[in-house]
Assembly symmetry: C2
């Protein structure tokens, strides 16, 4: 079907101009209501239109603008549309109706609780990756798949589709490719940089690609970004792994499982992620990154992402089953998720604790150290290089001997140099009005406060806890310090805290 | 909590300018990255911000613009934001962080299948009406409530909340206020104008407010708009009803159940509506309009909105139950939904058939006439003015005597004059490649074709059927004519038809 030529034989063309509007990843184009294209095609504001340049195309949302902003033979592109289409000022673009999105009918069936076929899932994911879904369509798909609404075959199909619509890496000459992942929900649980350093120090291969945060105040990529460069090209990443057996990169910059990145943006806005979506997101990134053996950390706590041992067991079983089907060995580890790990929450605050553990400082949080050692030990055993029960001791030796810290510095050097984490210019102290003993944390509310303070976008923002479980508290004792990069964000986080009751439970 | 003043005591103010961008109902504001507010508050593109002017405020999406588009002490407003905030060029606006949306946690609970409390629903609806939900939040809420995911108490609470967040009308001196509604899904089912004319001709009260289409090619308001003015103010509507006992107005212009209007916009984009949402949408409009007795037409067919008698019965029971709880008498009527009603699909094409029935033309579609008579008969009986079984005959007399046509003209005159429906400049004929007898229609695909042709926005667009169920068809016989206002839309609808198999089934 020739989409370029309309009924009367005319081709709709307008000249590209970068209008100077930043809409983040949302693709928006701007046309005048009185331009020939809007008049001929009946386009009005919020219509979805297809914009073609050479062999590339995008589907974008149309905003209609007045004559003052645009010449009538021009089409304005948002910064995101400009980048994605790769055009220059004055290039001639073709404007068309987008094809009818048949995959949306599959999404509607899913909303009505009908299972999705392999073909349906493949088509939905292909349309998502091609940018044919608007934000409300993505939100509908995510909500329809949220909670436990995807069954095992659907999760397998979704994972496979997400792998196949992106780049797939392999690591020639290296046999077992290791990785670790935490399903999240536990603020401050920044074990990854430590685990990678230990495992790589053992001479094993762990090419770590991490996401930025979905609903938390910091993802591993956000934290690593304050220590070194994480936006590596594929070639840069390969050369770091070639040299060091490991890397600590942001997955998004190498086009691994691009569907995941598009879905995560809307998941973040609606602050929602489902079990099947979670498994597909995690495993698609791992499989596409060429990983063969992975440990998955599943923290359980009443205010963690996974709230009961029963759900954790279920999730663990699903992870293993999907992994088996897709040829990746998954070892789940159910861990304590009752309180934040360490004391810092937010990219820079967590990065400082990672450094303290690696540098074997006496001030290093013991819980962060112990968790990292346990995960690293399991990976050493999964590698086949260490026998069952030998991994823990080996990991401790690699950390305490300084081998892991040396490896971490080498890794950061290869990625562009080790940086010093920034410090927040605005701080607010929260002190106790009661005395007693800490007997609980609300992880979700802590995460919310850190996010309102600006994390993860504001790297220095977040929370520094002063107390942990079972610590004694006197009236007036410092409970936590909120860090922010602007006074408005500090005030916003403080106001939110004041309206809450039980962020830290003391009795 | 004082939201106006930030931590350092400064008040964030910028001067309003209408930037000249139409984003339909979506509220968007434009600021420079280097303006004092973005710098102080850490605002980036896509952030939601609260904009205050005098006692009013809106929550809008932020787009960040370059220096060429805006002075640094200005804030640009989209046409929608400009209208809703009611400002003038140069007015000083206050810019703040929006309050934290606690009601989103209720939406997330619902996604996880937990029932919503009355308080939760009231807060969600209040936040929706205040414009605090972005489009992805609305899509998440709608999807979480889609299908049959709302239970009876939730539907009752949702209906009540939607009534209470808008204007509520009463009709002093009039006892029974009648109404009718069709749940939709059946193209061309445009009985409302005929029923209103008949019932009003009997001297009864039927102040009809209709919605525009959600997922169909034409709602009653869309069709009536080609015959007269439907955007009446409350005062205009009251004066029409005062004089004629009836009106045929668009509900949106009188701020009845504004939550419904906001939800419908996103429902339309995702082409999805749920059972509970449907009942709340319909009954909230009726109750807020002061209606006491309503007939609900529920067409059943394999490709109608309601596909089985069992589901229709369930929906009918829910309608009656919610109505009883909220003090409105509901009489459901389950009807034949196997094929479109009449021959025209689309605002102008349907309007012409409405006129043919009212004018008792021999060319008038008999099925449209019969359905209208049945509904009008039931309403005459519900009014208490006619005994059980007497309504049908009375309705027929009112139509055949010309009384209904006279009343319809009087109504249109009061609303601004009777208009002639527009004719489409572009037409495409679809002819049969086989011979046989028509034995089925795909109502959904017909609706889709009519929408791709431009309906309901393009008033003259749609489909004129040439054949109905059980009609004989020879090879080359005309099956339907697609009407469009632009060549692009005609081609788009034709292309879509060509890719389909069984829009009209012939054997």
């Amino acid at each position: 079907m020739d989409q370029d030529v309309n009924h009367s034989g005319a081709i709709h063309q307008l000249k590209a101009t970068r209008i100077g509007i930043d809409t983040q990843q949302e693709l928006v184009v701007y046309m005048r209501a009185d331009c020939q294209v809007c008049r001929a095609e009946g386009f009005v504001a919020q219509t979805r239109v297809r914009i073609c340049f050479e062999q590339r195309h995008i589907v974008a949302k149309l905003n209609v603008v007045s004559a003052a902003l645009l010449a009538s033979d021009n089409i304005g592109l948002s910064d995101s549309a400009w980048r994605q289409l790769g055009v220059s000022e004055g290039d001639t673009l073709r404007i068309e109706h987008p094809s009818y999105l048949t995959s949306l009918s599959f999404v509607r069936s899913k909303v009505a609780n009908k299972p999705l076929s392999s073909k349906a899932i493949a088509q939905i994911v292909a349309d998502v990756v091609a940018g044919r879904y608007s934000d409300v369509h993505l939100a509908t798909f995510l909500t329809a798949c949220a909670g436990d609404r995807l069954d095992l075959p659907e999760v397998i199909d979704l994972t496979r589709a997400m792998v196949e619509t992106g780049q797939v890496l392999d690591w020639p000459g290296r046999e077992r490719i290791l990785d670790k992942h935490c399903v999240g929900g536990l603020p401050g649980n920044r074990t990854t940089p430590i685990v990678v350093a230990i495992v790589a120090a053992a001479g094993l291969t762990i090419p770590k690609t991490s996401s930025r945060s979905i609903t938390s105040p910091a993802g591993t990529a956000d934290t690593m970004e304050v220590l070194t460069t994480v936006d590596l090209t594929l070639e840069q990443m390969q050369s770091v792994v070639e040299a060091e057996g490991a890397c600590l990169a942001w997955g998004g910059s190498v086009n691994i499982s691009p569907a995941d990145d598009l879905l995560i943006r809307v998941e973040r806005a609606i602050n929602l992620d489902g079990e099947g979506q979670l498994i597909a997101s995690v495993l698609s990134k791992k499989i596409a990154a060429g990983v063969t053996h992975v440990v998955i950390d599943i923290p359980v706590g009443s205010t963690a992402k996974v709230r009961s041992h029963k759900r954790a067991q279920h999730l663990a079983t699903l992870f293993v089953a999907v992994g088996n089907e897709l040829g990746i060995r998954v070892l789940p580890l159910i861990s304590d998720g009752r309180q934040p790990v360490g004391f810092g929450i937010g990219p820079a605050l967590e990065a400082r604790e990672v450094l303290a553990v690696l540098q074997q400082k006496s001030s290093a949080p013991q819980d962060l150290r112990q968790r990292a050692l346990r995960l690293a030990g399991l990976l050493l055993e999964l590698s086949g290089q260490y026998g069952s029960g030998e991994g823990g001791e080996a990991a401790q030796f690699l950390l305490d001997s300084g081998g892991a810290w040396e490896k971490f510095q080498a890794l950061c050097d290869r990625q562009g140099g080790l940086k010093t984490p920034p410090t927040a210019p605005f701080k607010g102290e929260i002190r106790s009005r009661v005395r007693g003993r800490v007997n609980g944390f609300d992880n979700r509310q802590l995460a919310q406060i850190a996010k309102l303070a600006g994390a993860p976008k504001a790297k220095a923002a977040g929370i520094q806890l002063a107390k942990k479980l079972r610590h004694r508290v006197e009236v007036g004792d410092l409970l936590m310090t909120i860090h922010a990069e602007t006074p408005g964000e500090l005030r916003y986080a403080e106001n939110y805290y004041q309206r809450l009751g039980d962020v830290i439970r003391i009795n």
